[in-house]
Structures are given as C-alpha cells and as structure tokens.
C-alpha cells in the first residue's frame, strides 16, 4: 500500500484558503493529468468541493512530494498553505478516504451530497487515465463502505436542510400537513424552497404576497396558488396555518396585535411562522402568544445543528464500521501482493519442466503417446508436490506482517524477476496491474 492523501477541509482551513485551492469542474481533468505526470506518482485524483480540496495518489515509493505539487500547481508559497494542510499515508489515507466518502468528515455529518461528488471526481480521473488498478480498488471499496455505513447506521437518516427542518417542526405542531395552507410573504429563493418542501409533504394550498404584485403572481403560478395584494396581507393571513416570511422590511411586519387578531379569527388554532428575514419580520412579542409558534433563521439553524448532534451518535457506530473495513481492505491488498510471486514461481518451474522434457525428448528420440502422458503426469506431479508448501506458506504469510520477508526470500531462492523488480519496495512491486 503506497497511498498518500493530502488536502484541506472546512476544519483545517478557512474559506479564503479553500477558495484559492478550489478547482473548477472544467479544469479537473487537466489537474488530474498534471498530477499523474508529477514525479513519484503512479495514479492520482483530485476531490474538489466547497468544503474540501484533496489529492489522493498511489505513489511509487510512498513518499511523493504532494505538498510540492500543490505549491507548484496553485502557485502558493509554503507559508501560505502548509499550516492548513493535513497529510495521510497508507492505512491512514485509506481510513480518511472511507470517512470522506461515508460523509463522516463532512460539515453536516451524514449529508448525502459528498458521495456523489467523490464519485464524479473518480469518474473524471478515470476518464483521463489518472486512476487505474490501485486507486480503482481503493475507490470501489470506499463506495461500498459508504453504502454500508448508510444502510447500517442512521447517519444519513434525518434531514438537515433548513427547509426540511421547517417541515419537521410544522409536523410537530400540526401532526399531518395534509390540507394545511401555506402563506409566502416576500417572494425569495429560500421561502420558495421551504414552500416546495411543505407542499411535497401534503400542504394543500398556497398564498403569496409580495410588495411587487407581479412577482407574487409569478410565484403563485408555480405552485398553483393564489397571489394576494400586500395590502390584504393582514386580512387573509389568518387563513394560513404556516406562514413563511422573508421580506426586506426594516421593521417587524407581524406584531403582537396582528397575532391576536389572527388567533381570534382562527378560534385559537395554532399558527406557525417561519421567519427567514434578516432583520426579522415577526416581532418576538408576537411569538409569546399562545398558539403562535415562531422560528427565525437562528432557531432553524440551531435545530439543524441539533440534528447534527444526533448524527454524531450514529457516527460513532459508523466509525467502527470504517475501522473494520480498513483492516479488511489492507488484508485483501496484502493477499493480492503475494499473488504475482506465486504466479512467477509457477511460471519459473513450468519453464524448467518444459526445458527438461525437451531435453529428454532430444536424448530418447520420438516418444510413444503413452510415454508422453506418463512423463507429463510424473513431472507435473513432482512440481505440484514441491510447490504446495511454498504456496501455502506465501498465502498464510500474506495475512500477517511478515509477508514482505517471505516474498523476498522466495524470490531470492528461486531467483524470480519481473518487470518492476527495480522498484526499491519489494513488497509492493508485485502489486496488481490492470
């Protein structure tokens, strides 16, 4: 295993640093090619999202200068970058990648987006030939681990975006959202998103009010809703169970007296105000009324982060899965490490056998078919018997730490060579090739 990983993420580097390292999608193939061409790197790929930029490589000797690559590629001085970098090798690199793919290293633990981003990065690097045998195996395993973590733990189960937290809160108040009415005050992207979530969970009808009436009409049409003139806001608002407000008003537009009116007209049925405006649209005084529930942007964000806390507990379970998967991956790679030696050994002995049979033929002249069969069976039998113990020993050794030594001894004893024999790390020279 000669994996190396270097990078920055939301924890290690401020946004300004991550911005300078971020690689646009269009330039990703070129970066992968550059990386592949960098000294000491056999395979490499780049993961670049808004929260992380990471380089994963399989190197010739396990000590490639990935920092140097970053400095050179991004034209950054070591003092600007190095303090924010983390670097992992071998097993630690594998673990880190598994954690990233499983969304355990994400800002919002358990969010599903990261796996898709890693898959895209992998596909890009593969397309330009920067990823082959070793990284191929590593990433296939990482995707399998991510899937396992998702299905065996609840890490990704609870929804986290502000819009979906708003839906969950609404459900805590109303039980079911079937047949509920939503009122959007101030047409904005965020309120539109929240409304879309609410409608997807069963809300029946929608009102839209905006200072600019035309925008209200436009948004209302999207939801098959009804546009309301801003002047009629207070007279219609009580018909809504859920109000999403995001106007640019400098003062609160919903005050205590409005709340009292609404409640009186609604026979005290509760109302839920989602206030995503800054400064706030709903006065805190109104939120104190019985039956009025107000969540402003900070409250929603807090609810989001409490979800994150729940996920942390699940993340502990996920970490255990990762640990066992790293062990499995390592064991599998090591078994693969001895396979080429076994193949070389078999080839070597087969060559000797064939040469000896040819020699016998030369000396004895034409052999009868029966003699051919007898000689074939005899020589093959001897070789199989002789090979049995060394092969078993190699396979057993592969699962233990002494694999490198045993492989080395076998190669020396039988004077085995292959194309990569010049590589200094004997253990890895027999790594599989596609």
């Amino acid at each position: 295993m000669r994996f190396q990983l270097i990078g920055v993420n939301h924890k290690s580097a401020p946004l300004e640093v991550r911005e300078r390292l971020a690689i646009p999608e269009s330039r990703l193939p070129d970066t992968c090619r550059d990386l592949r061409a960098y000294p000491g790197i056999e395979e490499g790929m780049v993961i670049s999202t808004c929260n992380r930029v990471e380089i994963v490589a399989h190197t010739t000797n396990g000590h490639a200068d990935l920092r140097g690559f970053l400095h050179q590629h991004f034209h950054l001085k070591p003092e600007e970058l190095d303090a924010h970098l983390y670097e992992f090798r071998e097993k630690d690199a594998v673990r880190h990648l598994f954690r990233v793919a499983s969304s355990l290293d994400s800002m919002v633990v358990g969010e599903a987006q990261i796996l898709g981003q890693v898959k895209e990065a992998y596909a890009t690097a593969r397309a330009v030939g920067a990823v082959r045998g070793q990284l191929d195996q590593l990433f296939s395993r990482a995707f399998a681990v991510a899937k396992r973590v998702r299905s065996e733990t609840a890490v990704g189960s609870s929804s986290v975006s502000i819009a979906s937290v708003a839906v969950e809160l609404a459900k805590k108040i109303f039980g079911t959202l079937e047949g509920k009415t939503v009122f959007i005050v101030g047409a904005g992207k965020m309120s539109e998103l929240a409304a879309r979530h609410l409608m997807a969970h069963g809300c029946a009808s929608i009102f839209v009010a905006n200072r600019t009436y035309e925008r209200a009409i436009g948004l209302a049409q999207k939801f098959n809703g009804q546009a309301i003139k801003f002047d009629d806001l207070y007279s219609t608002c009580d018909r809504a169970d859920i109000v999403i407000t995001s106007t640019g008003a400098p003062h609160a537009i919903f005050r205590r007296e409005h709340g009292e009116q609404f409640l009186a007209r609604r026979k005290n049925r509760p109302m839920f105000f989602i206030d995503i405006a800054v400064p706030r649209d709903v006065s805190p005084e109104m939120g104190k009324l019985d039956g009025i529930f107000t969540y402003d942007i900070d409250d929603l964000q807090q609810a989001v982060s409490s979800h994150v806390a729940d996920r942390r507990k699940e993340a502990e379970l996920a970490e255990a899965i990762i640990t066992s998967e790293v062990e499995r991956f390592e064991a599998r790679l090591q078994t693969l490490d001895v396979v080429p030696t076994i193949v070389s050994l078999q080839d070597h002995l087969e060559t000797i056998r064939q040469a000896e049979i040819d020699r016998v033929r030369g000396r004895m002249g034409q052999l009868t078919p029966e003699q051919e069969i007898a000689i074939e069976a005899l020589t093959r039998g001897i070789i199989n018997k002789v090979m049995h113990t060394p092969i078993t020993t190699l396979k057993t050794a592969a699962k233990e730490s002494e694999a490198t030594t045993v492989v080395d001894v076998v190669r020396r004893l039988f004077n085995l060579h292959d194309k990569d024999a010049a590589a200094p790390d004997k253990k890895n020279e027999v790594g599989t090739r596609p």
Binding site: L169, K172, I173, G175, G291, Y295, D299, A303
Partner: protein
Amino acid sequence: MSLLWLRFALGCYFIGLVYAFVALTRTSDLFSRIALHAASLGMVFHFVSLAELFLSGQVVWASVHNGESLLAFLSMTFFMIIYAIYQTTSPGVVVFPVVFFLTFVGAVDQQPVLLTQFVSHKGWLIAHIILIFTGYAALVLSFGASLLYLLQERRLKAKKSTSLISFLPALEVIDQIGYRSLLLGFPFMTLGLITGSIVAITTYGRMDFLDPKILLSLLMWAVYMIMVFTRWNSGWRGRRAAFLATFAFVAALAAWAANYFSAIHRFAAS
C-alpha cells in the same frame, strides 16, 4: 380471589407508573412498548377481577373498592382506545399514575364507608355508577391531554434541541385527544348526574341541594360544561384550557371525596 387478580393488575400498572416518570425525562421506544404490554396484561387481570366479582354475585356496586377499580379499568380502556387511534402512549404519563392510584386504593383491604340508606331502584344505581365513571375516565384523559399540550407547547416555544425528537405527539394530535375525550365524556357525565338524581329522588323523595356531594357534583358539571363550551365557541386551548381542565379535575376529586361527608351518598361494604 377477585382482590388477588386486582393486585396482579396493580403490579402490571406499576410498570406503567415507572414509565410515566421515565418518559418525562427521556424517550425510549423499548420502554414504552414494555409499559404498553404490561398495561394490557394489567387490564386482563383487572377484567378477570371485575368479572369474577360480578359473576360471584357478591358485587356491591356502590363500594369504594369496586367503584375505584371500575373507574381505573374504564380509564385504561380510554387510554387503549386512544392508543389504537393515535398510536401514542404518551397520555400514559398522566393516565398511568391515576390508574395506579385508583387500583391501589381498590386493592387495599380497607374498611369501607357504608351506604346508609337502602336503595330501591338498583338498575338506576348501576346505570348512574357506570355513566358517571365513564365521564370521570374521559375527564382524566382530557386533563392528561391538556397537561401534555402545555408540555409540548413549552418545548416548541423553548426551541430546545430536543423539540424535534420529543416523545410527545404533535400539538394538534394532543389537542384532538383532549377535545374528543371531553366531548365523549360530557354526555356520560350529564346522564350520570341525571340518573343519580333519579336515584336520590326515588330513595329520599327529594333533592337536598345543600348536601356537599350534590353541590360539588353540580359544580363539577358546570365546569365541565364551560370547558366544552369555551372550546367549541372560541377554541380555547393551551394555558387557559389547561387551567380549566385542572379546575374541573380538582372539582371532580372534590365531588368524589364528598362521598365521605355526604349524608345521602355513602358507599356500601364490599
């Protein structure tokens, strides 16, 4: 023998009581399932106890033991109906302690207060007891629901992180549980009082409105009616509804306790 079954039931309800205390501080699906099964088992014992009493022919409908046992059983029945409809055990937080207390009193071998007068119309008396107890059971549940409503409202308003994973059902669901129990209980309570009056008039030939039992019963009924009315008319819920429900509950307890002071309404020996 009936008392033995009732004590088994009490043991099962005790698990429910523990659940009620635990549920206030943390959520556990497993524990709520255990409590539910224990309560169901308790109801089976309880039913056997009541049935045996009835079949033995020794039933004394107006005894403290039997009355409280019956009330506890009816409350549990209400709880189970609510569970069947809403799939929530959280009303148990209030219902379990009340049921445990009632069953406990019923299961203790105490000397009961005697019914002083001979009642001539036994059928009316039985109807009175069953109706009024069903009304009481509904009131217990409605009271429980209004407390849970307050709790859930406070959690939502406090915007604490636990508000999303709280064990309580949605606010409107709690509200419905409370309102439906209230609506269901009211006719029973009213009919119970009417049959009670009939029993009183046929036995004594008159109604003594100054008797504490009758006075408090009427007060309780009045509070009950105000609750139904304010709810229906202006949708009172939350704090105001909870105060009213508490008041009605206290009035009901007082009316119950008045048995010990009333000249005309006394229990028989069991």
